[in-house]
Every structure is written in structure tokens, then in C-alpha cells.
Symmetry: C2
Subunit: 385 residues, 2 copies
């Protein structure tokens, strides 16, 4: 295999982009990433997207977006792994470059969710769960996660307000990220007073439905400096899975796919949790943030909310998370999210995170979760030497 680096990054602001179509958003991110990399051509474009068929009546996004960005003819496909589609597309790009068959590969994550009403979006998101055994019984994606959060609180004796640290941290970081959807800090009081959505998950536990796109350009590391003064190396990349249905798991409070995916990535990188300078985790709900921290080895089981309470997840803490706002406050355009995480990690490792810069960030980790932990893609990235 060849070593692979990120030579370009691009993103749109996460927002309700009613004036931009799916293909426009994707093109904005791809063209920004190509400009950043200084490339005018690419060998392939892999699109991470979950819901274009259901919400925009559009499949075949690979060819559509390749053509729209001026790359008609190149290899292209859409990659889907529910909310982990974005990182799954980067993973495919990584494998393609590693193979030696392709040199310059673009991975773009894009999602356009706000053109449809919330009932349609809720039903579409539920396609990440098991249609025949979960959704048929009336659960939505948020109600499934509410069951998990309730059980976590019960099992470990954690009061609901102990989760506040996750959204408070995310909103604080998003306040200084111009690409974030919510550039407004929230307080503990805001969290406590937030409207209940699916008990115990309240509005501040929940990441927002949003539109957005993010892209990376990948190339072999030995060619990377021709394009980019500060290429970011991908030193770990892993995709792992679990049952879709939560009731089929041995332990609904342990994200085994997240643990497996993290372990594989650590092994490839030759590193462990103590070596990671920041962690872009998947805070679709605050309970997901907690479970991700535990599965990836940053907290003992039942202890993750303590990291949030003690400030250890802040930009200057032991393990900064959601350094540019996370899913909660940067926003969660589902199939794009995994690429946003990787783009933000690259911003940190290039020292371009502005007021959100994690000091001396050399190693960053991202973890993108699809379904209630069914598909998990972890990447470990290293700053240029």
C-alpha cells in the first residue's frame, strides 16, 4: 500500500441553504478543496451522501457532481453508510490512492435536508435503523437514542444535566467557527430549560438537521508536497460495523463498532488514546458523544460525562472534542458530517483553526457514526513533519 495524505480541504457553511441545490453545495466544497490543493484534475470523486434519493429524488450523485464540477468522465460513485457516509467516502478514497491505481482522489460529503418538512426528514433518517424490526414498531432515530440515553442514566446513576457539558462545549467552539450553523454559546440554564424532544433527549442534546458539504483531496504522501506545503497524513483508517437493531446487541451501552474501528485505527497508526491531541467525535446526541468517548478509550465506561463536567473536552483540556462546534453546533448534514470532521481535523493539524486552535496539535482523530452505532469509521491524522 501507499501512504496517503490530504492535500486539499474545502467546506460550505452549515446552514439552511434554501438558495443552493444539492449539486451546488457539493460543487462549492469540491472546488474549494481543489483550489486549496492547487489541482485542476482528479482521477476519481467519491460522494458521501445518505438521503439524496429520499429527500431530493436524486441518485447517481457520483456522476452528477463529477460533471457539475467540470470533471465529466472521471471515476465516480456514491458511498452510503447512514450518517457515516462522509467518512466512508474518505475511506474509499484512501483505499483507492493506497492501491496505487489512482493518484488524486476527491471525497465530498453532501446533504440537503431542509427542503423537506420535518416529518419527511424524520422518516428518512429512520432508514438508518432496522426497517423490518425497529422502524416497523414505530421508533424514530431519536427515540431509539432516547432509549439508550435513558438506560445509560439508569445504569450509571447519571443525572440528565451531567450531559450539558457536551452541548455547552460544542456551542462555545462553534461561536468562533464561521462555517458553523449556530455561532452562539449556550449556558447550563439554556440546556436545562430546553424543550424535551424524546425524553430524556432535549433540544440541546440534539444536533440540527442542516444542509452542507465538505470535501478533501487525497494523494500519495510522496507526491503530496508538490501540491500542498502542509499535507496532513492519514496514519489510521478503519471501518467497522455492528447490528443495525439496538436490541440485537449484547450490550446497548457499548458501541462495539466504535471500539473496533478505533482499535484498528490505533493499531495501524501505532498509537493509543494518550497520543491523540484532539478528537472530532460524533455528537449527534449528547449520549452518542459519551458513548464514543468511552468506546474510543478516552473514558472508562459510565465516566464520559465527567470529562465534560471537568472541562477536559475543552480546547485546552486533556482531550478537546468538537473543536469547531461538532455535530451539535457546527451542524449535522448527515452524509457530509464525516468529511466536515476530517476537514476540521486538517484545519487543526495545519494550524489554521484560528481562535479554535488546539495548541501543538500533531495527532487528531475523527470518528463518524452511522445508525445507532452500526457503521463507524475512524481516522487518525498526523500533521506534516
Amino acid at each position: 500500500m501507499r501512504d496517503v495524505s490530504i492535500i486539499g480541504i474545502g467546506q460550505t457553511k452549515v446552514a439552511e441553504h434554501w438558495e443552493r441545490s444539492l449539486r451546488h453545495l457539493a460543487a462549492d466544497a469540491v472546488m474549494a478543496a481543489m483550489r486549496d490543493a492547487g489541482v485542476e484534475r482528479a482521477d476519481a470523486l467519491y460522494v458521501g451522501n445518505m438521503l439524496s434519493g429520499e429527500l431530493s429524488g436524486q441518485e447517481n450523485l457520483g456522476a452528477l457532481i463529477a460533471d457539475f464540477v467540470g470533471l465529466r468522465g472521471i471515476e465516480a460513485a456514491k458511498i452510503e453508510a447512514a450518517c457515516a457516509s462522509g467518512a466512508a467516502a474518505v475511506r474509499m478514497g484512501y483505499l483507492a490512492v493506497a492501491s496505487g491505481l489512482l493518484d488524486v482522489v476527491i471525497a465530498v460529503g453532501v446533504e440537503k435536508m431542509t427542503d423537506q418538512g420535518s416529518e419527511i426528514v424524520t422518516a428518512a433518517l429512520a432508514t438508518a435503523a432496522d426497517a423490518d424490526y425497529e422502524v416497523v414498531n414505530g421508533v424514530s432515530f431519536i427515540s431509539l437514542n432516547a432509549l439508550i440515553m435513558r438506560r445509560y442514566m439508569h445504569e450509571y446513576g447519571i443525572p440528565h444535566e451531567d450531559f450539558a457539558g457536551f452541548p455547552v462545549n460544542a456551542h462555545k467552539n462553534a461561536a468562533t467557527n464561521p462555517n458553523a450553523m449556530f455561532q452562539s454559546p449556550i449556558s447550563l440554564e439554556t440546556f436545562k430549560r430546553a424543550k424535551m424532544i424524546a425524553s430524556p433527549i432535549n433540544l440541546m442534546d440534539s444536533s440540527p438537521v442542516a444542509d452542507g458539504a465538505a470535501a478533501v483531496v487525497l494523494a500519495p504522501s510522496d507526491l503530496a508536497r508538490r501540491f500542498q506545503a502542509a499535507p496532513v497524513r492519514i496514519i489510521g483508517s478503519a471501518n467497522a460495523t455492528d447490528s443495525l437493531a439496538v436490541h440485537d446487541r449484547h450490550d446497548p451501552l457499548f458501541l462495539s463498532a466504535a471500539a473496533l474501528s478505533a482499535q484498528k485505527a490505533y493499531r495501524q497508526a501505532g498509537l493509543g488514546p494518550a497520543d491523540v491531541d484532539f478528537f472530532e467525535l460524533h455528537d449527534a446526541f449528547s449520549i452518542t458523544a459519551a458513548l464514543s468517548l468511552e468506546a474510543a478509550g478516552f473514558a472508562e465506561r459510565g465516566q464520559a460525562t465527567r470529562l465534560a463536567k471537568d472541562g477536559e473536552i475543552s480546547l485546552s483540556g486533556r482531550i478537546p472534542v468538537c473543536t469547531l462546534g461538532g455535530l451539535k453546533a457546527r451542524g449535522h448534514p448527515v452524509g457530509a458530517t464525516g468529511v466536515y470532521q476530517i476537514v476540521e481535523a486538517a484545519q487543526q493539524l495545519r494550524g489554521q483553526a484560528g481562535p479554535n486552535q488546539v495548541k501543538n496539535a500533531r495527532i487528531g482523530m475523527t470518528q463518524n457514526i452511522g445508525g445507532s452505532g452500526a457503521a463507524v469509521i475512524t481516522h487518525i491524522l498526523a500533521a506534516a513533519e
Copy 2:
């Protein structure tokens, strides 16, 4: 890169499988392929599928099927490129094994279409076309292809009945394929009397909506014989694209993505059309079969129907096509089709095509087309030495 071989194949019969769910069909094919390869584990499972979200309310098929076949935990994702999703998934598996990072990779194509009424299926299939510029004007996928066929007939002065050779050949070959949907020959008279669907495309010009799944197991060629006495080498693999919208093309009668994809595959294999012993082409409509033959270099432009009329596409002809029934008569479960083509090519190259065997078949080519020629994946396969 590492050389890659197919070490196992599996398929379900193509049919209206009202008693089998999406996951059951996929599992039937995957487990047959694993038995054929003699493997009990795999490193990854890539699922080619187009319409599970729209027709079954189910995304996240990678994790779902990996779990259901007893491989919970392994890497998995869904790959979508409209009707070329199946071959796109094989292409991803090929890249993954070629990279050296994964050894045993399964690619499965699956589609479950007959649970829904025809209006819903027609609308879902139209997501392969350009939603904003084609479908918004009321075209369906078949009416788009009817426009292309009408133009072809006009431009080259070809009467409609000259296309009959394609479905007649496909049905003849399907008659002796136990996995085919229509095991019944048709005559020229059947073709002429067939009901018009979207003029000039009649029922016998059109492949059927169907359910089915097919799977291959891939491994590095240097390990392949540990598993399989007759591994089939992948000597060419290429994915190329065009605009989704037919009106955006320089020439609507030339499938430039099919030509580009074939040229890339020929170049990689170091071969040309004259070296190919049979061609599993994408006869979604008879016009598509003609355009594919021309784009891949087997006929001059405007001449493809002559091959059909002269018997050159029959099992004993110059370039046998649809040797086990093709999309028209084996059936076209869209996201599965590309894998069926590759499984059937492997049957031929292993000498296991029974009464359909192409004599001395050493080199086979498959071409899977998504949209009206927007995403095309070509593979060239070689028999074991």
C-alpha cells in the same frame, strides 16, 4: 497494486421474490459465494444497491447485510451508481484488495423492487436521471431511452424490428439458465406484436423489474488458489462517467462514458475488442445494448443491430452477448445487475455455464451502465491459466 482474483461466486434466481426480504436475498448470494470460495470470514463487504431507501425504507445496507450473514464487525458500506451500483461495488472491492490493506472482500449486489407498485418503482428509477433538469419535466427513465432510440432509428435509418435480435438472443440464452427470470424463448413475431411501452420501446425491448442478488468474493491473485482451483483474474477494471442529463451531451447517440470505461479497461488489460471472447453488456433496453456494443468497439456506429441480425452475438458467434440471458431475460434487479454480469462471466471462464458455455472462453468483458450512460463500469476477466 496487487493483482486481484475472484475466488467465489453466488447468486439467487432473479424473480418476484415476495417471500424473501432484501436482507435474505443478499445473504443467500453472499453465503453461496462464501461456500464457493471456501471462506468463513472476510475483511469487508461492499453492497451494490440503488433503491433500498426509496423502495424498502432501508439504508445502511452494508452493516445490515454484514451482520445478517454472520460477519458482524467487519468493514462495510453501500455503493451506489444507479443501475451500475453492482459493478461499482465490485470495483471498490477490487481497489480495496489491490491496496494491500484488505485480503478477502465480498461484493454483493442486491435489489428488491417488486414489493412496490409500478408507479412507485418508475419514480424511483427516475432518480438515476437528472432530477432538476430532466425528471422535473416529466420524463421517466424509459421515456428518456425512447427518445434516444427514436433518434438512433432516424439517424441511421434503422427500422424497429432490426433490434429484435437482442431480445431474441437474450431469451434464447435465458431458457437454459436456471437463475433467469424468463426461461422462455421468444420469436421475431413475439417482438413485433409486443405491447408498446414508450414508443418506440416495446415490452420486448425492455428488461423487467425484478428482485435478486449476486455476490463475488475477491482475494489477491497470489493467494487465490488456496481457496479456489479456478480463480478468475480481474485484468481490467474501470469506472467512467458522463453528464446525467442526456441533453447535456455532445452526442446523445454515443455513450462516451462506456467508451472511456472500456478504453481504460482495455489499456489496463493490454487487450482490445478482438481479444474478448464474450461480452456481458447492459441491455436494459435494446437500444442500450446497441450503444454499448458500439461504444466498446465491437461495432461501428449505427451498425450494432447488424451484429444481432447476423447472429454474431449468439453463443457461437463472433462476440456472444448476454450469454445467460442478459438484463432482458435473466432479469434486471438494478443494483444487483452488475454483479450478476460478473458472476456469469466467471461461470463462463470457469467452464461452468452448462448448455450456455461459450467454447474456449478465456477472456470475458462486462459492462454495467448507470443512468442513460452516466456511470459505466467495465471489467475484463481472464480464466485461470
